[in-house]
Symmetry: C2
Subunit: 360 residues, 2 copies
DNA sequence: TATGGACTTCGAAGCGCTTCGACTCGCGGT
DNA sequence: ACCGCGAGTCGAAGCGCTTCGAAGTCCATA
């Protein structure tokens, strides 16, 4: 390509080149591109032809400078330990893909730059808006977000969500959905194995909300339910399970909301004399990928990472256009039945309906 | 902050504001920031004080426009199926962190935009350079990279690496390291369970190189060695293993280079009557995270994702400064011994040295 | 026939920054 | 006393784009 004619070094084609080639003013080319003023069909065609002929791409910096819009959004990822990476990646992909649909690019910011990073990015006008992931209940970045001149969308819910736009899986209903499923299979005594204790202490909202959904729904069904945190090492898992089974010998259903522990749970149960799903059913709240990869494949409520990412960007774009958007968006959990759940073996396998009626 | 004085709407501080506040010319401020001309210590201090006082951040677009340097690099991620996501994430983090050390930001580009995405990013002068991940042997993006005016670094090796800069784990030596370890434990018959067949067909370089390192090193030790691809479902893994053990009843060492199959291998071996590591030792080539999470914890050669990402960015920065860099950078594998390997139980547990001598 | 829109298009003024040439010192050398 | 020179600073010219006001056309209205 470069060896064509008398192309000077650094053959960046500018809007001026296009204008000259098409025989119009620079501003006309600009208006063809932006559509902000009416341009006759014939002129438009001529300009577009020139653009194609020259392989013109607008200079992003110049455009940002003149229009005060960078057409870039920031994606702030945590990379804190304890986060499950595949889910993050799915988020990220969805965010990028959706952003591209709106003709925006994505700047990747890691949280270890801290609030200063956010401030820098925003103040330098590199980005028009911000998507913030893995928000904690008391997140130091949240107050900053309010001061920033740029719109933002959070994935997750901080304690103080005033004036903020948040998106997340509806963890309450996710916890509930697991109980629904186990109840409908006829289980009468179940337990929730959650995140490590430190996560609860950190006040990460989703852990609490899942537990609430689990506990309250079980209560509604009149099912005996225990909830407890769980560390991620194999020994810890095994110990937790052993204790749990000892205290609740009739336990037949287990909800696991801890991606890292899932494999260990499946490995430990047989060692404790419980076959899955014959003796005990297991439902996980985790990405499909993890559920499918486990042996046996896990019935699971998936974290709809792609939906969340897509929603977040869509909301952000609305805000960029000055539209009003709902402060909270909760996404529906979806439960996929796989090989790890079944009706309890020994028990009377009647299904119990929420109102307490028994279906035979 | 905003409610301070008579701050106008959109309180973006410009270099002009700083200059006025410090009582110097705009160009002086610029030179203080860039260090491209000598500025007296007193002036510099005054300017820096003003910058701090006003909370000035240079406008990225203006800077890019005037200097023709965006201070942004592109990170092109694949998101093709079969890639293990956590590793990607580690890469990404390392890339961002390192880029920040060089005062650059990172634009996230997904491969599904294809070559056009690359072209757009480069032509619009949004980025100064490109880091391309998960390069295939015959990658359609590679020829494009040569035409682009921007420097780039590949992670992985394409078949035709002329004029390109590539970084990767030394998979040959990774395969070799696994054999070294097993041999030193006294194993005499081992096998490699690799990626799904399709990966080999796609000519992904690393799969072939691992196998070569494995096979050739085993030969050097005079150890019986088999290598075969492996699909990722549990049933496939179990079947592969069953066949393998039938054909090679004395097999005592297994190298797994397939992150997705790792868990299944560990689950299937007991079912086939083999305890790990008593009856059979398992070494994996996978991220530490996966190895640690498995039960039992796996002896593994880790993919040094962080090093690779760091190296890639460092090389790119050198290229941006016009320096010459080596075309190929291979990173050393590191093997971590965990619970999944031991001397073979029944066998004579002598250690064999590479030269054929036997150590008792 | 004058008049005023609609419809198109043009020219020029920036956006905030970098960079180049030029200017002003003060100093050592002769 | 003069020149030359380096150090420090300034002013102005863009970088490539958007956008505003205005100008030119053409046709329908009064």
């Amino acid at each position: 390509m470069t060896e064509h004619g008398g192309a000077k070094r650094a053959d960046m084609v500018t809007i001026t080149d296009v204008a000259r080639h098409a025989g119009v003013a620079v501003s006309t080319v600009s208006y063809v591109l932006s559509g902000k003023r009416a341009i006759s069909a014939t002129t438009r065609q001529r300009v577009l032809a020139s653009i194609r002929a020259l392989g013109y791409h607008p200079n992003a910096g110049a455009r940002a400078l003149a229009s005060k819009r960078a057409n870039v959004i920031a994606l702030v990822l945590p990379l804190r330990s304890g986060m499950h990476l595949p889910v993050l990646m799915q988020f990220a992909t969805a965010v990028v893909t959706t952003a591209r649909q709106f003709d925006h690019d994505v700047l990747l910011v890691t949280a270890d730059e801290g609030p200063d990073g956010l401030r820098r990015i925003a103040a330098s006008a590199m980005v028009d808006g911000i998507v913030l992931m893995d928000v904690e209940m008391h997140d130091p970045r949240v107050p900053l977000l309010r001061d920033l001149e740029r719109p933002s969308v959070l994935i997750g819910f901080p304690a103080e969500a005033e004036n903020l736009t948040c998106v997340d899986l509806d963890f309450y209903r996710a916890g509930a959905a697991c109980v629904d499923h186990l109840a409908s299979l006829g289980h009468r005594e179940i337990a929730l194995l959650g995140a490590p204790a430190v996560v609860y202490e950190r006040d990460t909202g989703f852990a609490h909300r899942t537990r609430a959904g689990f506990t309250e729904t079980a209560e509604r069904y009149g099912i005996a339910a225990t909830a407890q945190p769980c560390e991620e090492s194999f020994d810890a898992v095994r110990q937790e399970l052993a204790g749990l089974l000892e205290r609740h010998p009739d336990l037949t259903g287990l909800v696991v909301h801890n991606e890292a522990a899932v494999a260990h749970v499946l490995a430990a149960l047989p060692l404790l004399g419980r076959q899955v799903p014959h003796d005990i059913s297991v439902v996980a709240i985790c990405p499909d990928e993890v559920a499918e990869r486990a042996s046996p494949a896990l019935t699971s409520v998936l974290i709809p990472a792609e939906d969340v990412g897509h929603q977040a960007v869509t909301l952000l774009m609305r805000k960029l256009e000055g539209q009003q958007v709902p402060a909270a968006t909760l996404l529906d959990p979806r439960l996929t039945v796989r090989a790890s759940t079944a009706a309890p073996a020994a028990a009377d396998s009647a299904a119990i309906l929420p109102d307490g009626a028994v279906m035979r």
